[in-house]
Every structure is written in C-alpha cells, then in structure tokens.
C-alpha cells in the first residue's frame, strides 16, 4: 500500500507540471487585460501612464515565459502567489473558501448516496414494478432538468412562497450551526439530486447484473433471506463498480459547483475561480485551479484505496 501511495505521488509531479503550463497558457489566452478590467474599460480619464504603472506594479509587463517561471518558482516553494486585486496570498484565499465547498460537496454526497443507493437497490430488486419505474423516473428527471432551473424553482417555492429556507447565503458553522444547516439544505438538495440521478441508474444496473450471478442462486438455495443476500452480498459487490462513478462525482463536487454557488451566493472555491476569471486575476486563477487539480487527484487516490477496502481481491498495483 505504501509503495502504491509513493508511486501515485511521484506520478503527480508530471501531471501537475503539465496542468500548470496548461492552466497558465489558457488563462493568458482569455481575451481581456486585467489592468483594463481594474481600471474600468471606459474610464474617460484613463491614461497610458496609469495603465503602464499598474502593469508594472502587478508584474504584468514581463514577457509571458518570465511570468510563468516566476510563478512556478514560487509554487515550488509553496507560494501560490498573491491576488492581483487584493494582494492576499492565493493560498489563504482558497483555504478561506474551500471549507464552504467541502461542506456543500459532502452534504450533496450524503444526499446523493442516501437517495441513490436505496433507490437503485430497490429498483433492481423490484424490477419492472412501480418502485422501479418511480426510481428510474426520478433518475431521468434528475439528469434531464438543469440544476440551475431546479435551484431557482426551490428558491421560489421553498424560499419565497413557503419561507421554509433562506433564498441564498452562507453562515459559518462555527458562528451558528443551526443557521449553517438551514442555509445548506437547498444547495445540497440540488446538487445531491443531480448526483443521485446518475448513481441510481448505475447501482440498479450493477445490482441487476449481480442478482443474475450464480452465488445469489446458491445463497437463496441455502435458505439465506433475500434481505441478507441483497444487503450483505449483492449491494456490496455492486458498490465496487458504483464507487468509481461516485468518486468521480465527489471529485467534481470538490472542484466546486459554479452554477449552484453563484445562484445561492455560496462562497465556495468555484465562485472564487469564476470571480478571478471575470477580473482576469491571473495568480488567483492559476493558483486555485492548480489547487483543485491536486485535490481531484487525491480524491481519486482515496477512491482507489476505498476500492480495496470494498473488495480485498483488488490489487492496487
């Protein structure tokens, strides 16, 4: 296991190197000048002098390869740079926002798995019944409906008309845990529903395959109750394959859900990335995307390890 970890960490280095080049180049290819954005494009008194002064101060006057080398040199020393707008260290900014993304991702994961695994299992066990059709109908709905539409619907219904939940915003859990949960419900339901929709179908398909296997017939022949067969054997075996899908979803969630964070004004890292795109805040954008790439890789690593726990026969090598 340790060897496997080290091997994966070593593999991370070239991955991150290429990600850093790709991110840096892509960001600088985005039309728009950060200084123009800061000055306000149509400032009637904007002068070349001010424009050049700002570019110099922000280090944007250097050739692009020098800018990259400067940046990557600092990254290798653990410094992701400073925001062009606020001068705050990028690391601090990302760390300040990442908890909100983690809370949202984990709660969406909880909602998603609590719905998808039982729904998929029931749909498989009671195939071609009303349970099955309901679960698949829900899955189809969840996949088809754009999540921002669902978000706006919940805001109008549960937020405005019935005043059950707040329409937007975030409260730190350390400030008021109850309010934090209250604000978390709607965005996590939206994201969790989307996740549940795809996982439900996966779990159902996997379980149907497992239910046809010989060991199930053998277990039934031996007199094991159906419930035990499903819960102890079939479901666990099905989850091995479903884990990949779940892991990918979680990785995606941990990268932030840009639309949901924007709609609900949830101050997560995806919103931070979006803000940095609008502002052409290069260091913040580069640093936060690199951070997310690392996070994604570690999530996948965790999923691989979890695989092994689910099915000890799997070799990590």
């Amino acid at each position: 296991m340790a060897r496997y970890f080290i091997k994966r960490l070593i593999q991370l280095i070239p991955v991150l190197f290429f990600v850093s080049i790709f991110v840096f180049l892509i960001i600088h290819l985005i039309p728009g000048d950060p200084v123009e954005v800061m000055l306000g494009e149509d400032d009637a008194r904007a002068s070349q002098e001010l424009y050049q002064a700002m570019r110099k101060q922000l280090g944007l006057d250097a050739p692009i390869h020098i800018q990259y080398l400067r940046w990557i040199w600092h990254v290798l020393q653990g410094d992701l740079g400073k925001s062009l707008r606020t001068a705050e260290p990028v690391w601090d900014m990302v760390m300040a926002r990442y908890p909100a993304t983690i809370y949202l991702a984990l709660s969406a994961f909880l909602v998603g798995t609590l719905i998808s695994i039982p729904a998929g299992a029931i749909a498989a066990v009671k195939q071609n019944t009303a349970w099955d059709y309901s679960a698949m109908g829900f899955a189809l709905f969840g996949i088809s409906v754009p999540n921002f539409w669902l978000a706006l619907l919940l805001i109008l219904g549960l937020g405005l008309h019935w005043r059950v939940f707040p329409t937007m915003g975030y409260v730190d859990p350390t400030a008021h845990f109850g309010m934090f949960l209250w604000h978390l419900v709607m965005p996590s339901v939206v994201l969790g529903t989307a996740m549940a929709s795809s996982i439900t179908r996966f779990v159902r398909a996997e379980m149907l395959d497992q239910l046809r296997l010989d060991y199930v017939r053998t277990a039934k022949a031996k007199g094991l109750p159906d419930r035990k067969i499903v819960s102890r054997h079939v479901l666990r075996n099905s989850l091995v394959a479903a884990t990949t899908a779940i892991g990918l979803q979680v990785g995606r969630l941990l990268g932030g859900a840009t639309v949901i964070e924007t709609v609900f004004s949830w101050p997560g890292v995806a919103l931070l990335v979006l803000e940095s795109v609008y502002a052409r805040d290069y260091p913040l954008l580069q640093g936060s995307v690199l951070f997310l790439a690392v996070a994604y890789v570690f999530v996948n690593l965790f999923v691989d390890v979890f695989y092994k726990w689910l099915d000890p026969r799997i070799s990590l090598e």
């Binding site: 985005i30 000048d33 001010l50 002064a53 606020t86 705050e88 300040a96 931070l272």
Partner: protein, 517 residues
Amino acid sequence: MKHARILALVLGVVMSAGSVWGADTPKHGGRLIFGIRKDLSSLNPFWRTQSTDAYVRQIMFEGLMDFDAKGKIVPALAESWTISPDGLTYTFKLRNGVKFHNGKEMTAQDVKWSADYAMNPKNAATGLSLMRNVKSVTARDKHTIEITLKEAEPIFFSTLASIRPFPVVPEGSVGEGQSRVKDFPPGTGPFVYKEYQSARGLVLTRNVNYWQKGLPYLDEIVLKPVEETQVRFTSLRAGDLDLIERTPRVFVPKLIKGDFPDLKVAEAKYSGFRRLIFEVTKPPFNNVKFRHAVRQALDMREFVRAAYWGFGEPATVWAIPSTSPWHIGLPEVKRDVAKAKALVKESGVDPNTVIELAARKGEEEEMQVIERQLTTAGFKVKLEFLTGGKISRRRRSGEFMLDFSGAEPVKDPADAYPFRFSCLEGKRAKRILNYSGYCNPEFDKLVARANKIQDEKERYKVYEKAIRIVHEDLPEIPLVFVPRYFAFHKKVRGFTTDDGARFNMTTGGLSRTWLDQ
C-alpha cells in the same frame, strides 16, 4: 361625561398627530442588508476598479466636495473654496473637527498626503491621470489646502467633487507601492469598515463621530454580493435582503404599480448611456452619408420600448438632460426609411454591404431590436456577440465596423468629448477611448479653446459648437439613457439615489436611510 368625551377627542387627535409625525421621523438603529451585484474587487479606495467598488467606497470615504442628487457641487470635507483669477490655484478651507474612523482629526496634511499618494506613479492610483495637471499640493495651515495647477483647467474643479482623484485618508495609512491592501484604511464617511469576507459580504458600522451630526441613522450595513439578478430580487421579496441594486427591469412596472405591496423602488434615471460606435477610417463607415443613413433607420423610442421595457429615453448628447447645464437640445432624429434609403444611394456605398454589428454577450435583446430596425430599412446586418475582452481588443486596433457600447453620462463635456473624439486619441496606434478613429481638426481647435475658458457659460458655448460638429460628423450614434432601479422593503425609509445610481452622497443615500420597524 361631556368632559370625558372632549378629553378622549383631544387625546385621539394628539395620538394621531404623534403617529403621523412619528412615522416620518427617522429612527436610529437597525441593520440593513444590501444585495449588491458583484463582490468587491479591491479594498483600496485609491483604485476605482469597477462601479460597485466605487459606489461602496463612497459610503466610507469622502473627498473635498461632492455632487448632490441634482448634479450641483456641494461642500464635503472642504466647507469653502476660492479659485485664483488665473485659474491656477485652488484654495480649500477644510472643516474643523472632522475625525477619521480611527479617531484621528483630519487636517490639511492628511489631504496633502492623500493627494500626493494618488499622484505617485508607484501607487498606480486611479487619480494619477485625473491629477496629472497638478503642480503641487500644499498644506498652508492645519485646515487650509492649496492645489496649484501647471496650467489652467476649468474642469479640474468638478473633478475634485468626488473621491475619484483621491479619497481623504490619514497620512501614512496606505503604504507606498502597496496599492492592493487587505483592509480598508480609515475614512471620514458615515460608515466605518468593520470586516470583509470574500463572497460573503462587507460589514460597515455607524460612524458615531461623523461630522454631519445626527447621521447616519443605521447601526450597521451588510453589503452582500448576490450575482444572480433574479435571485437578488427573490431574496428581497423573501425578506433575506432589505435593499437591492439593479432590479431586473421586468419587475419594475409591477413594483411601480404596487403589485408587490411590501416593496418600493428608487430610480437612477440616467445611470446608463448606450451608443453605436462606427469605425470611420475604413469602408463602409468612412462615408458620413452612410453613417447618417444608419441613424435615419433607427427608432430610439421603439428601441427603449422593446429592449428596456419602456424605461429610458432617447439621447442626443452625453449630457443628462435634466441636470447638465451644458445639455444641448439637439433634435431627435426620427426613423425615416425612405430618407435612409435615399442617403444610402447618395453615399454611393453598395446597398448590399453587410454591416457587422458587434456587442457583448448578454446584449442580445438590444441587438435584435437594432438589427430588426436596420434590416427593415434595407440594410444587411450580421450580428456578433463577443466577450468583453475581445470587443476591447478589436476596438483598440480599429478592427470592427459597428459596435454597440455602454457608458455613463458625464457631468462636464470635457470628461468625454476630448478623449472620445480628438485627433490625438483617434490617431493612436492603440486607441484608448476614441475607438471610432474620428478626427476633425476644427473640433480639436474648439475643444482646446473651450478648455482654457474659466467662465463656465462661455466654455459651454464653445463646447456647443464642438458638439454640433460631432453631431454632424456622426462618429457615434448616441442612442438612449437607461435607468437603473433600486428596490427595497417598505421598512427602508429615506433612501435616495442620484442619476449615477450612487449608494451614498453627502446630501443623501445610505447616510440618511433608516429602518421603520
């Protein structure tokens, strides 16, 4: 019994009068949650950045003077001023006893330091360009500041009527070259910076030492960024916000009609300005008759109705009609398809020429109206929707044909016309603001002459001639003024704004807002 009835009547009258008076009497206290469109870009008051930043800063910082809601210059930190006859020296008498948010008394030395900071190129402050004509800033005594110019510049006075050239902060409160700061420095405004959390909001508390005694009324303001417009309005309706800016126009008729009984609306009538910019150095729009043909095909009133829900009014110059003393009543050009076609014929331009009309993504509604008006007048139009960055790049290099653009109306013609229409600006390899590439030496001569005239009325007379030249040459078509709307809960009282949609002014805005709860 009779006495009891009289007593009851008198008591009833007194209590009714009291409740009427009480309802309009501002109350101190309360917390206002204000939904703003975008999060702050910077906590540095010397950086303008984008409009939300500028408006938010006006709640905490002040300049020497300010504009009131009608565009008149009023005293702010300076209570009086004189200008030397040669127009080179401006002397301001500062108010006594004004305190910064950190308790320090404001003196002329702080004003000098703030001005010098803005003029230092190392700080890359927005005021650098606005103060480029300043030779020196001198603190004559504790409450007298003198600004000396290199050459007379009549517009300089109105430039100082805002915090754009420099907000007044305590000496040394922002480090040199540290124009990006983690926290706001102290100001003198009605509200004090308390804390800021990215994407969560900015919290301001009442300045108990504010120089306008009795103000402000609110204890606290929380400015929450809520980017999604519909969500911002829904949150207001749900009570999660008390006040919002940029109310979606689709709801404004209902707000005005009273369909939302708990909500009120305040209008910033001329906060936005829309225009079409021609590239006049290349075909087909190097032909002035063809440009006039395009203008003749447009119906501004229908444009306002179709694109802006009827909110707005046609524009002919960059000036606000109601408050600009230099506003010229140029005739509105009414749509005349026959005349447009005749002008196309006269111009000699091929009528099958395809006009490439570009706008930013998000401006599709406006462009579809313009496209329809042009195509029904016989023009061939190709619409393009581009990112802001790409549009900007094309304009700077003159690689466009016809662009739709927004701007803000200006308080003085010198704030727009010299930069947008001068030959010097138009002939730059990389255009800064004269995107059209327009050049008319006669216009330049008139503007140069006007900018040396001290007397405002005389200056505007000369500017009028220059503006008429531009109106005839038509490098741009001024289209419409577009309002912005604030919506707020009925418990929010006393909130006003100006044509520029500012959140706060010396004479109004959030400093005079209170909660009736």
